[in-house]
């Protein structure tokens, strides 16, 4: 790998290295990140809609909270499934190591789930929208670090040069905004007026654009800074094993939704908006999976 770094003069070939088995964090972790983006993203969108279109969103409080609870539980379930010793999960709470983003994330996600259930209770049982709207900003505030902690975790992976904190946290926030707006377009489509849908579409398009810019910046400029990044990005260039998947992800998650949103603005078509939303949600999984896999292909020894 990384032929650009290998001196022809030395012609060095590894002839024996029982390198450790390949993928350590598999597709389960991709689902984890994808579901968490949706689970937190819909909370951001509910908050925005309540501020800007309070008359439109009344009936969306409970369904949005239910959606968030479902996706956060998918995230938690796949996190648990990825552990080799899932029955010891309680160690995180009884032997916490606070320098670890995993520990901090687990504590915050637990608090987040508790608040989601409180909101569900207020909305469904108590029918108390005033209390719901008072607590929601705190849930939004907590949703931000819940979204970002995985970026912290990835940046703590010193071995994986590709994952840098500023970029990863930006990607995580944009992923939450993209998937949250996409999911809300699907969930609330019929209940929202065109203006509200346009706002969601704008957020989707802008977050898709910013995410695409970040990936392309990494793709073009990343190799100029670090040889490990250069070596990792070889897996998505030329005939690399993840080249096709990378570009499929970029098109499906970002480029096509942007294009469809522009078309929908002209044609005022809700169906096109929904198609853009579905593509963005599906493409986001692909994009995240590629970015998770490629650094794991690089031999560490």
């Amino acid at each position: 790998m990384a032929a650009h770094e290998i001196l022809a003069a030395t012609n060095a070939v590894v002839t024996l290295d029982v390198a450790l088995p390949g993928t350590v964090w598999p597709w389960l972790v991709t689902v984890n990140m994808w579901a968490k983006s949706i689970g937190t993203g819909v909370i951001f969108m509910l908050f925005m809609l309540l501020k800007r279109y309070p008359d439109q969103v009344g009936k969306l409080r409970f369904p949005t909270i239910v959606a968030s609870i479902i996706f956060i539980h998918i995230f938690l379930l796949f996190t648990l499934a990825d552990l080799h010793q899932p029955l010891r999960m309680w160690h995180i709470f009884f032997y916490p190591h606070i320098t670890s983003a995993i520990t901090v994330g687990a504590w915050m996600a637990t608090a987040f789930v508790g608040l989601l259930f409180l909101l569900a209770f207020l909305s469904f049982v108590k029918k108390d929208n005033a209390a719901f709207d008072k607590i929601l900003p705190w849930v939004v505030a907590l949703a931000i670090p819940v979204t970002l902690y995985t970026a912290g975790l990835m940046s703590q992976c010193t071995a994986r040069e590709l994952w840098q904190m500023p970029t990863e946290s930006a990607q995580m926030i944009f992923a939450a905004l993209l998937s949250g707006s996409a999911f809300m377009l699907l969930l609330g489509g019929g209940k929202l007026n065109w203006d509200a849908q346009k706002s969601l579409a704008n957020i989707l398009a802008l977050s898709a654009f910013m995410s695409f810019v970040l990936y392309m910046s990494e793709y073009i400029f990343g190799p100029m800074k670090a040889e490990e990044v250069a070596a990792v990005l070889e897996y998505i260039k030329g005939d690399g094993p993840y080249t096709s998947m990378f570009w499929i992800g970029q098109w499906v998650a970002y480029l096509l939704p942007m294009l469809l949103i522009v078309i929908s603005r002209v044609s005022k078509s809700e169906s096109i908006l929904k198609l853009a939303a579905i593509l963005a949600l599906a493409g986001l999984w692909v994009v995240k999976h590629v970015w998770l896999m490629i650094p794991q292909l690089l031999p560490m020894s």
């Binding site: 060095a12 290295d17 450790l20 088995p21 499934a81 899932p86 010891r88 010193t158 071995a159 020894s301």
Partner: protein, 212 residues
Amino acid sequence: MQLGFLVDLHLCMGCKGCEIACKVENEVPLSTWRLRVKYVDVGTFPETKRTFTPLRCNHCENAPCERICPVSALHYLDNGIVNIDKERCIGCAGCVMACPYGAIYIDPQTQTADKCTYCAHRVASSMMPACVVACPVQANIFGDLDDPTSNISKYIQSNQGNVQVRKPEKGTNPHHYYVGGGNVTLNPLASQRIEGHSLFNKITTLPVGGHH
């Protein structure tokens, strides 16, 4: 006290005695290694040579594995060893992802992370690590880096300018040194890995559970 390791690559002849001793001492399961010797062939026939590089945990001063472990299963001992408590490990594999040296693996029998501990149990009984004892050419030098009269300190002093660590740019401050190393031996990106061009092509890999 700060225990450290040094391997003189001029002396290592790739016999893999250290690897076997480690396997036996620590009951390391099939398909996993706490210590392994990498062979890199250099040059073009007939001007060729084979280099040998023993690879193990670097017991970093600023260990990414210790920092990322959510339950402190990976922890520092007073003597500087980065140790692991397998009973506490939840198997999140964060440490495997964090270690820049590929020194940590998931034990297929216990489903927990594991790695070289510099034979902490032997050190606690004032014995040398198993790999040091097994080395027929004394290429492995182990001792207290804080003690200027220890063998390792003297070796480092007498080889000033020729002592390297792996991936210094990571800022991990490894306590594992090499004498006589170079780009080919210490930098994984400096050599090719040609499929089917390995001395052992069919290595049995035990499953480590689930979809991993």
